[in-house]
Symmetry: C2
Subunit: 188 residues, 2 copies
Amino acid sequence: MRIFLNIQKAFNTTAEELDAIKNTAKIASIRKNDFFLREGEISTSVAFIEQGSMRLFYNAKEKEVCNDFFFENSVIGSFGSFMAQTPSLVNIAAIENCELVIFKHEDVMALIEQYTTIKRLSDIIIQEQFLRSEKREASLLRLNPEERFKNLLEEHPKIFKRIPLRHVASYLNITPETLSRYRAKFSV
Amino acid sequence: MRIFLNIQKAFNTTAEELDAIKNTAKIASIRKNDFFLREGEISTSVAFIEQGSMRLFYNAKEKEVCNDFFFENSVIGSFGSFMAQTPSLVNIAAIENCELVIFKHEDVMALIEQYTTIKRLSDIIIQEQFLRSEKREASLLRLNPEERFKNLLEEHPKIFKRIPLRHVASYLNITPETLSRYRAKFSV
DNA sequence: AGGCTTTCTTGATCCAAATCAAGAAACTAA
DNA sequence: TTAGTTTCTTGATTTGGATCAAGAAAGCCT
């Protein structure tokens, strides 16, 4: 199946591992704005994004605050909820229509048990999440809004192309008005 | 050894596991203000805090920004750096004099390999880190400074007793002056 | 296409927290 | 103990980004 080729490429799996994955993972489409996980639910699965983009966000008082964006060839989920099987603190929803490869909790456990290389894979994914969250925290703590904007523009210009600006503003923890002014200031 | 009793209690290990831990882990004292890990270094170990308190912080422009505090009976380390064996983004230092039980990277790997229950333990620690960081992000993203202050006061009053206020201010991502005014306002 | 809603931009005003400044209190080390 | 730091408090001022407001542009129906 064409759709697993990206997994093969992203994770550099052997034919045997890829077969095991094909036999357990499920393919799913989710449409723009659909939820993958809601705050309070216990996460039953994580997903590999074949195509599309998603966001992970918190419910704040009246608004939503966006914590992160995920594009094709990355793994998305609430790892806290998924691993501990506790209610999720975060929401996850599609920004663009997405093609996903879904990994159920029990399947992941079984795959890890059976294939030490898949275990290693899972460890790498977990590591990446730790690094991602340390980076995110560092950016929120040590940079001011304008610096965060310039940083994001430099490191992930595609976010400005594919993500609605109100979500980008939320990610930067500023209002849409302020983002708009930064964009004018730096002519983006 | 008395010092391992807390580990036994915190993790509810069997006698056999505790023995395995005793034979590999090393006890260390570190003094107030000493570093456990510096930004840029690759983390070689994680530590169980028997006694004392530590902080995890980032270097920002001219100042340090504190990301979290850790007290006795918790595990501290840069998990991103420890697991991926990449340079740490964070610093870790003692606030009070500490008694630590140190777990070297290779020993942890070996223990996990050998004892499935210790593997389970490590999974729980990792889960806790994920939850901790989701909570931390949520607090930075959805609360304003004064709400963060009130929240911290409610949930962790002991932090105000044991941690120098400038570190608390940094944790709340406000200036010491602002913290001082909040304290006056709420008579803390 | 055309009407409707949502998103984005631009301007005016406001405010919470930062900065600047200086004194008080708490540690530290001889 | 006391001199010397460092930390904390309090006051005056500034400021970056929020909020309020209203129009422009872009999406999204049928």
